[in-house]
């Protein structure tokens, strides 16, 4: 696979007047952003027909740095805003860039309902087990025992598996990778962007400053090595006994199906309404 230089991607898609980004050294958001922009570039998608939406948090600042239409909304609500944009103008492709706290905690209800409706949107989800922007509180994805400023003695709650949640709620495409799996990640984003309905690509992404340093992993390489230790590819996981999977995170493609998206369903609904009212045959 030929990769364009990062400078070329940067010059083509980033708003130079908004740089530098707010991201800390070692943060994985920039990598995932690059995967997303490369996927858009490879697919040759029209920049003017893509809207980026986000909520609140570090990853939610991404729409500000890319040169597209962008809606940086309230905490957790990005997918609800996206519903209005997409149904009003189905020609627009929507990318929701979200963090784990934003998407799964405060936005958890919007997430499952957007999936249930099969809203036509591609969610790029940065999972770093923490609330990075507010300084390292535990997120609902934090594995048991991980520390955060609001769980200084180690998280005692069970974590959410966002990818599995998305599969169960009915998403058309769901994949999870670490930022280290860049080729798989990029390919997954490409697949997701080409699909109708709800698609989600989750990335385990390093947050050394807010998360790592509270969990004895002060640098991005340490976090990446930890991800390599705790992640298990789907094919391998299928053969592993349940006890061995305890505390591990499965990565891979979890769903790839073609249920009709919300836009198509609504267009059919309009036809049905007009027919039932005798307006159209």
């Amino acid at each position: 696979m030929y990769l364009k230089s990062a400078y070329e991607i940067r010059d083509k898609y980033l708003r130079k007047d908004m740089l530098p980004t707010i991201f800390c050294p070692g943060c994985g958001i920039g990598s995932v952003l690059q995967f997303t922009l490369r996927a858009i570039d490879d697919l040759g998608l029209n920049q003017d027909e893509i809207v980026w939406v986000s909520g609140i948090g570090c990853s939610s600042r991404v729409p500000g740095f890319v040169n597209f239409d962008g809606l940086h909304t309230t905490h957790g609500r990005a997918l609800a805003f996206a519903t209005g944009i997409k149904l009003t103008n189905p020609d627009l492709k929507i990318i929701a860039f979200m963090g784990d706290g934003d998407a799964a905690a405060i936005g958890g209800n919007h997430l499952i309902h957007a999936i249930r409706r099969n809203l036509d949107v591609t969610v790029i989800l940065i999972n770093n087990f923490t609330y990075g922007m507010t300084g390292g509180q535990v997120a609902p994805t934090a594995l048991k025992g991980l520390k955060g400023t609001t769980a200084p003695y180690g998280q005692f709650e069970n974590p959410f598996d966002i990818a599995q949640l998305a599969v169960s709620a009915g998403a058309n495409y769901v994949a999870r990778w670490t930022v280290f799996n860049y080729l798989q990640g990029m390919n997954s984003i490409k697949k997701a962007l080409q699909k109708e309905g709800f698609t989600l690509v989750e990335f385990l992404s390093p947050c050394p400053i807010s998360f790592g340093r509270r969990n004895r992993m002060k640098t991005a390489p340490e976090l990446i090595r930890w991800y390599q230790k705790i992640t298990v590819p789907l094919a391998k996981a299928k053969k592993m006994p349940q006890e061995e999977l305890e505390g591990k995170i499965v990565i891979g493609e979890f769903a790839d199906r073609d249920r009709p998206g919300l836009v198509r369903e609504y267009q059919e609904y309009i036809k049905r309404a007009k027919k039932m009212m005798g307006w159209e045959e």
């Binding site: 027909e49 809207v51 597209f68 909304t73 609800a80 209005g84 997409k86 609504y266 007009k274």
Partner: protein, 382 residues
């Protein structure tokens, strides 16, 4: 264009139904909502009509999502509305502030019921006046309209859309349960009989680059809607005229919030609407809004029959508030009475406006019944 209800003639319909029909005639093509008494019938009417006019009506997971969806729809170019009642309106407050900050034209209907909390779902109240004006956090400015009849519910809904589009701002239509469910004769005009305003769009690339600027000097920036190639970034953070977040410079916040205030306050004469009954020679004035105004009109007639020179000021716009006009009114009368269906909300605004020039007395009533004319008369007579 074909409409799913009769136009150019009168009909006998509920307030909620009138609001739905007016929204469609005003050009609303996106409705998102969550069922709640007494606003559900607005949703039900929209659900019935919207697909027939190629619009969208969608039931969201909650009120937060409903207002979020209509803001998204507005940025994609649609005129959009949601409707709710007290508890739902409380949930919408954060995103109402987002709409103020991002200058998004939307219409939010709140058919008030008794509160706080779940309160009295099927009974009218006027307890959300302050919430409508000041509910969201931070310094903000929006427009609040208050209808008192089903015909006004219809007319003010059209006006709400027009004001929202003209000033690029959220507009709250504040009705109540009585109005929501009451049936009255309403004239539904032909589309060519009504004035419909559409938002200002950027005329060129240069204007589009200033989605939060003031290229026309009227405080209202043209709105570059999504998908037109302008690549607009919209954020609830304090932003400069280009839309870039600038959160640590006091002057950027001052300029932005200042303009959001100014675009409304400089156009008070266009926005504020009221009606005066028998006020020319009045010695006693009644100031009221919404459903209570109907009892107040009757009360004025009875008082006049009794030889008391009473008059009524009926406020159609609650916010922005014309404090000067109230002061002028107070200068000409001995006393002002404010009957309202709460423990005193409009009363505080009127009292501030009167500025000590006349005594102001609250006629409070809660519990879910509108003041009878005699209740007002008795308090005025003393």
């Amino acid at each position: 264009m074909r409409y799913p209800f009769p136009v150019g003639k009168a009909d006998f319909i509920q307030g909620d139904e009138a609001i739905a029909r007016a929204a469609i005639l005003a050009g609303c093509r996106f409705y998102a909502g969550y069922p709640i008494t007494p606003a559900s019938e607005i949703f039900e009417a929209m659900a019935l009509y919207m697909p027939l006019v190629d619009g969208v009506s969608i039931q969201m997971e909650d009120e937060i999502a409903s207002i979020a969806a209509i803001i998204g729809a507005s940025w994609a170019g649609a005129k959009a509305m949601t409707a709710t009642s007290g508890p739902g309106f409380s949930l919408m407050q954060e995103n109402l502030g987002y709409a103020v900050m991002t200058e998004t034209p939307i219409v939010v209907v709140n058919m008030m019921r008794g509160g706080p909390s779940t309160g009295q779902p099927t009974f009218p109240a006027q307890g959300d006046i302050m919430q409508a004006i000041w509910g969201t956090h931070g310094d903000h400015m929006l427009i609040v309209l208050s209808p008192s009849t089903v015909q006004e519910a219809f007319d003010f809904t059209i006006r709400a859309f027009n004001l929202a589009e003209k000033y690029r701002t959220p507009v709250v239509l504040l009705g109540d349960a009585e109005l929501a469910h009451m049936r009255e004769r309403v004239y539904i005009p032909n589309p060519d009989e009504i004035e419909v305003v559409y938002r200002k769009l950027p005329k060129n690339e240069e204007e589009a680059k200033l989605p939060f600027g003031d290229p026309h000097g009227d405080g209202v920036p043209p709105m570059p809607i999504f998908g037109k190639g302008y690549r607009t970034y919209v954020t609830g953070l304090t932003h400069d005229e280009y839309g870039h977040p600038r959160t640590v410079e006091p002057e950027v916040q001052q300029k932005l919030i200042g303009r959001i205030y100014r675009k409304i306050l400089d156009n008070k004469d266009d926005i504020i609407s009221y009606e005066k009954f028998e006020l020319d020679d009045a010695e006693v004035a009644i100031v009221s809004t919404g459903i209570v105004s109907r009892s107040a009109i009757r009360a004025v007639k009875i008082l006049r029959e009794k030889g008391i020179k009473a008059g009524l000021l009926k406020l159609n716009t609650i916010w922005p508030f014309d404090f000067d006009m109230i002061e002028e009114l107070a200068e000409g009368v001995k006393k002002i009475f404010v009957p309202e269906m709460n423990m005193g909300q409009l009363y505080h605004l009127v009292k501030e406006g009167a500025n000590g020039k006349a005594e102001v007395e609250l006629i409070s009533k809660i519990g879910g019944e509108v003041h009878t004319p005699m209740e007002i008369v008795e308090r005025v007579v003393g």
